[in-house]
């Protein structure tokens, strides 16, 4: 480092050390290191330059990944966090740099992903003057952050960072943002020892487990004939996968997973009955309206799970376990509300629940799922025409033994991935759930791979979503991040087209895409690439992709107008789930 400094720089450095003072920027970096940060995803600009200047001297402790767009930075941080459980850190400049984070913040908030985003801001004396690249970032991001703050003096940086990490990672996790004015970044002050935040007067992230509610829930479960567990991402976030397994095995209750809950329960377990939701499995959807006790754990009854709420599980007593009190009774009225961490609640329930046997009830799911296999899955896996998305995902699942980290984008391919990839382990399914952000997967896969370098990380993306953040191929090239990219190309915005077909009389309004030569794009970034159009080449292409230790791009041309079934039609309830195209719409 010293060799790169000019004499004047050296003089300035020694002057600072002599005075025992450091800049706000350096304090920020030291705080990040104290919080365990090792990797930062970011993009420099005018208002964050002092931090980037300080970062130059910390490159041995903080690895910075220069993305190609701030949206790429925040999705990469999300991927990193979802794969590792550690909070992702993002750096961006003021104005457009900060506003480019908004989509990722909204995505991370709804999907409970802990992130700490730091944005530069204009000098404090210019705030509110419409200065160059000045945007009111705090007010812009209030609705899309768990918490945010503006810091205008260096002395407040350490406390803000400590608070940010505490808030992001505790309770229901979420993204936080610290907006730091340039003068605070430059200001020299005497550094004080870093103190982690462990308490905020107005914030109680850990609810006290109410044993009376646990006992009432246990009584309901012990007397239930058809109890049913819906496992959401809260199980993964609280690290409760073992507790869920123990509880489900003792009580012999069937378990279905939400989109973000996939991986919370092994798909090869006898109690696992499938994936929930609009394009979920037949049995889990139909039996929601047949169960007598519904145990929802760390899930928020998203409308893609419930369908029409006025006809959702009306016959059942509902037990809802959630760490976020605002989620309880928000959508579905609960019989027993357990405002608690999923792990604690499951431990307490398991002790109080009797060993039970629900063989016939579980068998009813299998009966429905067999019908689904015959009418949907079998056709998807053994088609006569073009390659189907399902074939690709099935082959990927077989060749990776369900153990890869699979990052899907948003649309038909996402639902197919969630249906046919047989996830076995926690934190291996990464996707944009609540927000449904197209363009999420490519950068998120980069982040996941950087966080879990030992794992095979595969991004599965549609041709539409791929082109939304395709610029991140530059990041993949620069840092040689060996992600595997599978683009399932149907030259359509497939899910929108499917809805147009089903509900808008096939009026395909602006959903067909003329695509570029994706192989040439990959080639421009020196990424090995292959296109598959014939079924015969699919298996070997996936094998080749998984075998290389470098980034790899695989384009699979799939049926142009294939649909995803089953499907709960818009406005329908879970038991209205369709297994094929209604004849009236043919």
């Amino acid at each position: 480092m010293d060799a790169l400094l000019t004499k004047n720089d050296k003089q300035a450095e020694s002057d600072k050390q002599f005075r025992g003072q450091i800049s706000g920027s350096e304090i920020l970096l030291r705080c990040l290191i104290a919080e365990g940060t090792e990797i930062i995803f970011g993009y420099p600009g005018g208002a964050i330059m002092p931090v980037y200047d300080a970062l130059y001297g910390y490159s041995d402790k903080l690895k910075h990944i220069l993305v190609r767009h701030e949206q790429g930075a925040i999705h990469a941080a999300q991927g990193f966090t979802r794969a590792t459980g550690r909070p992702g850190v993002v750096l961006a400049t003021s104005g457009p740099g900060a506003t480019n984070l908004v989509t990722g913040l909204a995505d991370a908030l709804i999907d409970s992903t802990p992130l700490v985003c730091i944005t530069g801001q204009v000098f404090a004396h210019l705030l509110g003057t419409d200065a160059f690249q000045e945007t009111d970032v705090v007010n812009t991001t209030i609705p899309v952050t768990k918490w945010n703050v503006q810091v205008t003096e260096a002395k407040d940086i350490a406390a803000a960072v400590a608070k940010a990490f505490f808030i992001a990672t505790t309770g229901r996790p979420g993204p936080v943002l610290i907006d730091i004015t340039k003068n605070a970044q430059n200001e020299l002050i005497t550094e004080l020892p870093y103190k982690k935040c462990e308490h905020i007067r107005t914030y109680s992230p850990k609810p006290q487990l109410q044993l009376t509610n646990i006992k009432t829930a246990a009584q309901l479960i012990n007397t239930a004939e058809r109890p049913y567990i819906l496992a959401g991402q809260g199980v993964l976030l609280s690290g409760a996968t073992q507790e869920l397994l123990k509880f489900a095995e003792k009580t012999d209750i069937p378990v279905a997973c939400t989109l973000l809950g996939l991986g919370a329960f092994p798909t090869d377990h006898p109690n696992y009955v499938g994936f929930l939701g609009m394009h979920g499995n037949y049995g889990p959807n139909v039996n929601t309206n047949e169960c007598d006790v519904l145990i929802a754990i760390g899930m928020r009854f998203d409308d893609r799970v419930t369908g029409n709420v006025t006809r959702y599980a009306k016959q059942a007593k509902i037990i809802h376990i959630d760490i976020d009190k605002a989620e309880i009774n928000k959508i579905i009225h609960t019989t027993v509300a357990i405002h608690a961490d999923a792990r604690e609640a499951l431990e307490a329930l398991e002790i109080r629940c009797d060993k039970s046997d629900h063989e016939d009830w579980i068998a009813s799911f299998r009966t429905f799922n067999r019908i689904e296999y015959e009418r949907v899955t079998h056709k998807e896996f053994n088609p006569t025409g073009k390659i189907t998305m399902a074939e690709v995902i099935n082959q990927l699942s077989i060749q990776t033994n369900g153990e890869a980290v699979v990052v899907s984008d948003v649309g038909q391919h996402q639902m197919i991935t969630s249906r046919y990839y047989r996830f076995k382990n926690p934190r291996t399914q990464i996707t944009s759930g609540g927000a449904g952000t197209m363009g999420f997967a490519l950068p998120a896969a980069m982040g996941a791979k950087l966080g879990r370098p030992e794992k095979q990380v595969v991004a599965v993306i549609g041709d539409g979503g791929y082109q939304m953040t395709v610029q991140e191929l530059g990041t993949i090239m620069q840092y040689k991040i060996p992600v595997k990219i599978v683009v399932l190309n149907n030259s359509f915005l497939g899910m929108v087209r499917q809805w147009q077909q089903l509900f808008h009389k096939k009026r395909y309004s602006f959903t067909e895409m003329a695509n570029p030569d994706f192989l040439k794009i990959a080639d421009a970034y020196s990424i090995q690439a292959r296109r598959v159009e014939n079924r015969d080449a699919l298996q070997s292409a996936i094998q080749e992709m998984l075998g290389v230790s470098e980034p790899y791009f695989l384009e699979v041309v799939v049926g142009k107008e294939d649909n995803v079934f089953p499907m709960v039609p818009a406005g329908g309830c879970v038991s209205d789930v369709l297994l094929e195209l209604p004849t009236t719409h043919d």
Binding site: I142, T202, A326, N329
Partner: protein, 99 residues
């Protein structure tokens, strides 16, 4: 059925806290008819907002929990009708006169 409620929110007296509170209400399309915001005279780090709103029972209960989810908010409570609001308004006016 919609009716008047008085919503009392105790919070940190920090920048943007009022925006955060109003955001929760506007997202839920809860009409704010009147509003008093004040700094705690004994402790400037604390503040309170009292709002007269027009909404349904179901929604006021949900909004209460969403307000309590805000990091800066210590508590949120609601009362039927406007009496509580006007009592708070009277108290606030007296304090202003005293200052």
């Amino acid at each position: 059925m919609k009716q008047e409620f008085t919503l009392q929110v105790e919070a940190d007296n920090s920048f943007s806290v009022l925006n955060r509170i109003v955001n929760v209400l506007s997202r839920r399309r809860v009409t704010i008819k009147k509003l008093i915001a004040s700094e705690d005279q004994a402790d400037y780090t604390r503040g309170a907002a009292v709002l007269l709103v027009y909404t349904s029972y179901d929604l006021i209960e949900k909004v209460k929990h969403q307000l309590e989810k805000l990091i800066e908010v210590e508590s949120a409570s609601y009362y039927e009708g406007s009496n509580h609001y006007y009592l708070a308004s009277e108290k606030s006016n007296k304090q202003s006169v005293a200052v």
